[in-house]
């Protein structure tokens, strides 16, 4: 149930169309928003001169008979909760940023005092490498007690959330901040993830219900992602990307920025490598690199250790061949000898034990994120 005391703020937030600056301006004029409601109800608009006629009309419309009742009833019915910047439950870190969202809609459980909120963001068009890394960091950070903040976009954001949710029994594994209304599933392909986060984590947005995912919503949304977090990890970013915006906002807000270094030839690592080069981001190669910034102990890197000697002769030859880089079946056959049937069944075994992984196009590589081989 939504606290009736929140109604004035909901009313104003509706009227200004979730614009935090206009909201703040009205707040400055009226300490008690009830007075503003009173004025609008009676048509005294003089103290609201800083607002455009359109906004004033919306405010009047919202004062109309039963409007707020319907609005609140709709929120209740759809399982949407509301927290405002004046309430006690408002996330403490978010309160500190220059223009905190005055009203947040959320589904799921909102933890005002998250232990270690870390944002993982990156390109929507991620590579296989970015996908693996995002899932892995999402998972390992949650195991170390962190909460993953992300944007529920396709690509890195989605995979990070997926990695976080894969930790069973975790408390507050993930928060997703939307660039659209709380009831809008965007991108549509993420519907499963949307539901999973609403159930086990928290979905939030400052935008009014039914707001479509307009392009200019996202930069505005990004300040909440970084604002909620102690640090922002950029996994992959192209030359001009929204992740770079999030990273810059994080720096302005005084938060830590981390980036995963990539190959200099990878288009999707241009942005991250540039952040590292300019000194804006700390290069990160393991979860511990992030944890040590916040004085958290080494949580272990979730990597299993396998003795090279314990492998069969053919397995040893395969592992040896793959240390030189990824190879397809033909190349492995040339490097390791033996029959193709033998090789294929060996590859299945090695994949299942997490020693190697299969990339698209029947290419194999050592799964160094999973397994450390000791010679």
């Amino acid at each position: 149930m939504i606290d009736p005391a929140l109604r004035p703020e909901l009313w104003l937030h509706y009227g200004v169309g979730s614009d935090p600056r206009k909201f703040a301006a009205v707040r400055e004029e009226y300490y008690y928003l009830e007075e503003a409601m009173e004025d609008v109800a009676q048509g005294h608009m003089t103290r609201l001169g800083m607002l455009s006629g359109e906004v004033c009309n919306r405010l009047k419309e919202a004062m109309g008979s039963g409007f707020m009742d319907r609005y609140v009833r709709w929120l209740d019915k759809n399982g949407v909760n509301v927290v405002t910047s004046t309430s006690y439950e408002y996330p403490a870190l978010l309160q500190q940023i220059p223009d905190p969202p005055p009203v947040l809609f959320y589904k799921g459980t909102l933890n005002m005092d998250m232990q270690l909120p870390i944002a993982i963001v990156g390109t929507r068009r991620c590579t296989e490498y970015g996908k693996e890394v995002a899932k892995k960091f999402g998972r390992e950070l949650v195991k170390a007690g962190a909460t993953i903040v992300s944007g529920l976009a396709t690509g890195i954001d989605g995979y990070a959330a997926l990695g976080a949710l894969s930790v069973e029994g975790a408390q507050d594994p993930t928060v997703a901040v939307l660039g659209c209304g709380i009831d809008v599933v965007y991108p549509q392909g993420n519907e499963k993830l949307y539901k999973a986060i609403a159930e086990r984590g928290c979905l939030m947005t400052e935008f009014l219900p039914k707001t479509p995912p307009l392009p200019y919503n996202f930069p505005q949304r990004n300040r909440i992602i970084s604002g909620l977090s102690l640090g922002v990890l950029v996994v992959e970013a192209g030359e001009r990307s929204g992740s770079a915006v999030t990273a810059r906002l994080a720096l302005e807000q005084g938060r830590e920025v981390f980036a995963i270094p990539g190959r200099i030839t990878d288009l999707m690592s241009v942005g991250t490598n540039a952040m590292i080069r300019r000194g804006e981001a700390k290069a990160v190669t393991s979860v511990s690199d992030i944890l040590e910034e916040f004085g958290e102990g080494d949580a272990g890197d979730g990597v299993q250790t396998v003795a090279f000697q314990s492998l069969s002769p053919l397995e040893q030859r395969v592992v040896k061949a793959l240390t030189e880089g990824e190879k397809n079946e033909d190349e492995l056959l040339q490097a390791c000898g033996g029959g193709v049937d033998e090789l294929i069944s060996t590859l299945t075994g090695l994949t299942f034990s997490g020693i190697i992984k299969q990339l698209p196009g029947s290419v194999y590589a050592l799964d160094t994120l999973e397994t450390n081989i000791v010679y």
Binding site: T154, D330, D341, I344, L347, T351, F352, S362
Partner: protein, 507 residues
């Protein structure tokens, strides 16, 4: 005067006897054809008139001619009745005797100069006529080869009307064709596995598919050799038996392909094909590509680009090995037991997984592309294999691969093991095993069970996939000459279930 000649008609692959009757009487000059003739049959009037005249016979054009094709309630199609109609008119007008016309079956189209041209569907007609007790056939020389391979018939090849009439009058001489044996020839396949460089895993998958009659999906970047591999598959399938050749030739004969089919068919319809072209249809309920690929390979390149209804219409024939084509006027059942080889790109732009080119597709584009192939259809495909492009140096550098002939020997041996296991007349290949047969022929020991559990956890498999993997493992064990499925067989089989584009753990 009244006269009659025997001929045959076709309904699907089944023939029915047609009595061609001609009556010539006084009255206003006229020519009437009755007995549900289609346009080609009705036009026979013009061909018969000209052919009779040019072959040196008289056409009773000043009398009333009635031609009736009995039974009157079945539709008659094509030009096959030209010859019997001409003979019946000749007999009715007193130019030859009636007797020989009812002791043999006459098939053939007439040219205006009196020559006899080939027609469609001679083999199934002769087979049905033989079953109905006919034994003497006069067929166009073009079709004589296929007709003469039927047991216990005398087939006279006819070159022109004049020659035939002289023979029937006892003036000339004609020799029946000796019985032609269906010899599944060793035609060198146009594509040999030895020509394909690299792609060891894909070739291995093709070998397994051929050995167990499994359906195969190739997924790879453009230029990775999917089409080449698919085209080479008939060269490793076991040679057809005489009975199989006969069955395939029958279907091809109905579809208008003349001559004997002695090598396994390879059909590759374009992805724009309609569902009628694939499964069969048209006014005459003709066989479609899946029936023409009977006993051979149906290759569908650019698999996701086929229309959805076309792909879905494959499901039932894939399961039953036959298809019933129903049209308003008729309904025909054609055999359609083929090996499906499908090929697709790994993503819409085609470069996913390539090392030389970069993929520009978004995950949702890839997902949408993969979803064009429905789950039920994928469930009917046993082996998935990904192929990647071969760099040029590899193409020129490597030595020839193993030749088709030696792969085929292993395939034949594995098929023989299956034949012994299943006994005659029931299921012929591992791919067609029923659930009960899987239970009794594909037991998994405890090591294999453990591996299977691991696969389920890691790969998120369905119950159907479980059965598919066991079938493929059975075939791999057969190729290995092993009576029981060992762990190495199973782990190889599991590998052919992985296709990164279809992986379910995506968002």
């Amino acid at each position: 005067m009244l006269s009659q000649a025997n001929s045959f008609g076709l309904l699907g692959l089944k023939g029915f006897p047609v009595k061609v009757e001609a009556d010539i009487s006084g009255g206003l000059p006229a020519y009437e054809t009755v007995g549900l003739p289609d346009t080609a049959v009705r036009e026979s009037r013009e061909r018969v008139r000209a052919a009779l005249k040019n072959a040196g016979f008289a056409f009773p054009g000043d009398r009333r001619i009635t031609v009736s094709l009995a039974p009157a309630d079945l539709r008659k199609e094509g030009s096959v009745y030209d010859l019997p109609i001409a003979l019946a008119i000749l007999s009715a007008s007193g130019q030859m005797k009636q007797a020989p016309l009812v002791r043999a079956v006459y098939l053939g189209e007439l040219a205006l100069n009196g020559a006899v041209r080939g027609v469609n569907g001679v083999l199934p007609m002769v087979i049905s006529a033989r079953e109905a007790g006919e034994s003497v056939f006069f067929v166009p020389r073009e079709n004589a080869g296929e007709a003469a391979c039927v047991e216990g018939v005398r087939v006279f090849p006819v070159d022109d009307l004049g020659q035939l009439v002289r023979f029937l009058r006892g003036e000339g001489d004609m020799t029946p064709l000796p019985k032609t044996e269906f010899s599944p020839e060793e035609v060198p396949a146009p594509w040999d596995f030895g020509d394909i460089r690299g792609q060891a895993a894909a070739k291995r998958a093709a070998e397994i598919a051929a050995a167990g009659g499994h359906n195969l999906l190739l997924c790879g970047t453009p230029g990775s050799g999917k089409t080449m591999l698919a085209r080479a598959i008939p060269s490793i399938l076991p040679p057809m038996t005489a009975a199989e050749c006969m069955e395939v030739t029958k279907i091809h004969s109905v579809a208008g392909h003349r001559g004997l089919v002695a090598v396994r068919p390879f059909r590759s319809p374009h992805h724009g094909a309609s569902s009628a072209a694939i499964t069969g249809g048209g006014v005459n309920a003709m066989p479609g590509e899946i029936s023409l690929a009977h006993m051979g390979v149906l290759f569908l390149d650019e698999f996701p680009e086929f229309q959805r209804d076309v792909l879905e219409s494959l499901r039932q024939p894939l399961e039953d090995g036959m298809v019933t084509v129903s049209r308003a006027r008729m309904s025909c059942t054609y055999p359609a037991s083929f090996m499906l080889v499908a090929a697709m790109n790994p993503c819409p732009c085609g470069n996913r997984g390539s090392r030389t080119r970069t993929c520009t597709c978004t995950p949702s584009e890839i997902r949408r592309y993969a979803r064009r192939i429905s789950g039920p259809l994928l469930d009917r495909i046993d082996l998935f294999i990904e192929m990647n492009d071969v760099p040029f140096e590899d193409l020129s550098g490597q030595e020839r691969g193993e030749a088709s002939a030696s792969i085929r020997q292993r395939v034949v041996a594995a098929r023989e093991r299956q034949r012994l296991r299943f006994g005659p007349d029931s299921v012929r290949t591992n791919a067609r095993m029923t659930v009960q047969q899987i239970e009794s022929f594909c037991p998994l020991d405890s090591d294999c069970q453990k591996l299977m559990e691991m696969a389920f956890r890691r790969m998120d498999l369905s119950a159907r996939a479980y059965q598919r993997i066991r079938k493929v493992a059975r075939t791999i064990a057969d190729l290995d000459g092993s009576d029981r499925i060992q762990q190495k067989h199973l782990s190889e089989a599991i590998r052919y279930r992985r296709l990164s584009i279809l992986r379910e753990d995506e968002l």
